[in-house]
Amino acid sequence: MSNPQPALPTPASAYGARARVWDWRRALSPTGDLGDAVFRGALFLCALLLLLIVAAMIAAMASMSTLSMREFGWGFLTSSQWNPLANKFGAWPFIYGTVMSSIIALLISVPLSLGVAVFLVEQAPARVARPLTFLVELLAAIPSVVYGLWGIFVLAPFLRVHVMPPLQNWFGFLPLFQGSITGISLLTGGVILAIMITPIISAVVRDVLAAVPVSQREAALALGATRWETTRVVLANGGPGIAGAIILGLGRAVGETMAVTMLIGNRPEVSASLFAPSYTIASVLANEFREATGDLYVSALVQLGLILFFVTFVINGAARLLVWSVTRGTSGTARA
């Protein structure tokens, strides 16, 4: 852009307004370059738009749910009654179902995904690892209604016949495994979620582990560590990334609708047994929103949506805290 010809008074005239105190190009870009400034401004707008959308959603849901908030107050969170005909609404069974099904999903999925990822990165020869990695990523892309159908026709009967009766035989003294076995239950919902989030978690963990520098492994091996001990070093290195992967999976589990709706039994009741039907927030929204009539009914459903929003916020916050506590004092660790 520089022009050495003396005909021009100052190089600044190329930008026109450089002499002024406030220059929008300077404000947007340290170099004062037009392209830079526009680029930076566009990016800023994108980020702002996302914030605005979130804010608009919270505002809209909060205003739509004021009726229900005024009617039930904090009792909405703890009441177990959900009776649209009597205009009595309580969120507790849905919160419980959402949290419990996600916990079951994580309990099953996390060890499984870590195992898959470690195998793919640390153990499997390349000709096995490549097709397997592809398969894992393929699984992550299957639509949830397909999981739901498979769940109804294969998983639920399998659990009913081969898994739940032995569980009841061995651990029937625990309230968790009591009651009649139908195959459609909180446990089935949790298991299908586990199957759905395993590909996501293991795909991300695989990338995280692959990003751990080879020098770490070589150092461990050089110190005389076994394969198992080396793997532990690698896992410790990928800690924050793994935590992130789990949160990503949890995010899908909490918000998953279709497959869970088809398998969890859709019963707004808190039962100690994992074999009893349950209900999640996402499911009740999908089931009842369409035909909801009456202002209070709609308002209560919107408030459930708001609660789901905050449950997600809390989970995200907890995840950040976890990542922060793990990474404190360390640096240069692999992240996804």
Binding site: L50, I53, V54, M57, A60, M61, M64, Q81, W82, N83, P84, L85, A86, L149, I152, F153, A156, P157, R160, S180, T182, G183, I184, V204, G241, G244, A245, I247, L248, L250, G251, R252, G255, T261, M262, G265, N266, R267, P268, P277, S283, L285, A286, N287, E288, F289, R290, E291, A292, T293, V302, G305, F309, T312, N316, A319, R320, R335, A336
Partner: protein, 367 residues
């Protein structure tokens, strides 16, 4: 950290979709309607209807058949659910609504004009089950059905079930009740029946599309309920007659108010409507569950199209009335093929009178 953003983004997208759903249910047909002038510009009248999902397959069939002989009208129907249908109809964002249960007094008061309920066909709700080794159709008395769904009868080999089904090898297993989890007209008809035959049900649960079920597990849609029943032994649930017939589910006979066990057939459903005619009010808003009559199948209902008596646009009004007239006459053959029960003959006469009474600018539209 990018992961956490992705999670937030996912949730944001999901909630955005949800909120757009809210917006869509309120205003989606606006864009299609346009002004009357635009509609008539090409010579063809455009009509937009929305509502009940139960008659949707039939209405789509009717529309495609009707179009073959009547090129002057272009009619669309969207299956948005009865509740949304009534809402859009009341707000006049559509030309006609459709609902499985008649509008109540409160809803009628909100409507900007006099509303005609035009019955088009009849639907029925059947009990279906999965019992290995049972080949004959089961029979149920009303009080037994109520007590099963109230959770008071828990076992298949209960003495009261056995009494209705002598000689049937009923297992000593728990009855796994399956109901609809989504709010639906099917549930409304079923609970309407239970409220009529059981005072306890009426008091404890009541009538509605999404009641607080005392027992059982919920399946989403007819397909969800039938899927659960097919995959789990010892289940009992209810689905629409048309759906059960199409996929050949075992269906139960139900004792009607005359004391006969009625099979859920199209004829018996039409019979129930015919038997209830005497008690049908002038505005045709009627519940025909538990109808009198020897053959009446007791869990049935009309499905309605909602039409304003005074049409603001004569051309649109005439197209609508002509289409409905065609539906209750020529459309009957398609209804039967698709397992919807046709209206009884006397009801057709009353619907004709209603259609003849639809006016625009003070003049009747049928000529």
């Amino acid at each position: 950290m990018s992961l956490l953003y992705q999670v937030t983004l996912r949730v944001a997208v999901a909630l955005l979709a949800l909120s757009s759903l809210v917006a869509a249910s309120a205003c989606s047909p606006d864009g299609r309607n346009g002004g009357p002038a635009a509609n008539n510009a090409g010579g063809a009248v455009r009509l937009q209807g929305a509502g009940a999902s139960f008659p949707n397959p039939l209405y789509q069939k009717w529309l495609s058949e009707y179009k073959k002989t009547n090129t002057g009208a272009s009619i669309d129907y969207q299956s948005t659910g009865s509740g949304a249908g009534i809402k859009q109809f009341t707000e006049r964002t559509i030309d006609f609504g459709a609902t499985d249960k008649p509008m109540n007094e409160e809803e009628l008061k909100k409507a900007p004009g006099e509303v005609f309920h035009i019955p088009t066909v009849l639907g029925a709700v059947v009990l279906t089950y999965n019992l290995t080794g049972v080949n004959q159709s089961l029979r149920f008395s009303p009080d037994v059905i109520a007590d099963i769904f109230l959770g008071k009868i828990k076992k298949w080999d209960d003495a009261r079930i056995k009494a209705d089904n002598p000689g049937v090898a009923l297992p000593a297993a728990d009855i796994a009740v399956v109901h609809r989890s989504d709010s639906s007209g099917t549930s409304a008809v079923f609970t309407d029946y239970l409220s009529k035959i059981s005072p306890e049900w009426k008091e404890k649960v009541g009538t509605g599309g999404s009641p607080a079920w005392p027992v059982g597990q919920g399946g989403k849609g007819n397909e969800g309920v039938s899927g659960m029943i097919k995959q789990q032994p010892n289940t009992l649930g209810y689905v629409e007659l048309a759906y059960a017939k199409q996929i050949n589910l075992p269906v139960a006979l139900i004792k009607n108010s005359s004391g006969n066990f009625a099979e859920p057939t199209l004829d018996n459903v039409t019979a129930a409507a015919a038997d209830a005619l005497a008690a049908t009010p002038e505005d045709l808003r009627v519940s025909i569950t538990n109808a009198p009559g020897a053959n009446a199948y007791p869990i049935a209902s009309y499905t309605y199209v909602l039409v304003y008596k005074d049409q603001s646009d004569a051309a649109k009004g005439k197209a609508l009335v002509d289409f409905l007239w065609w539906g209750i006459h020529d459309g009957t053959q398609f209804a039967k093929d698709m397992q919807y029960a046709p209206l009884p003959a006397d009801m057709i006469k009353r619907v004709e009178a209603k259609l003849n009474a639809v006016i625009s600018g003070g003049k009747t539209l049928r000529s």
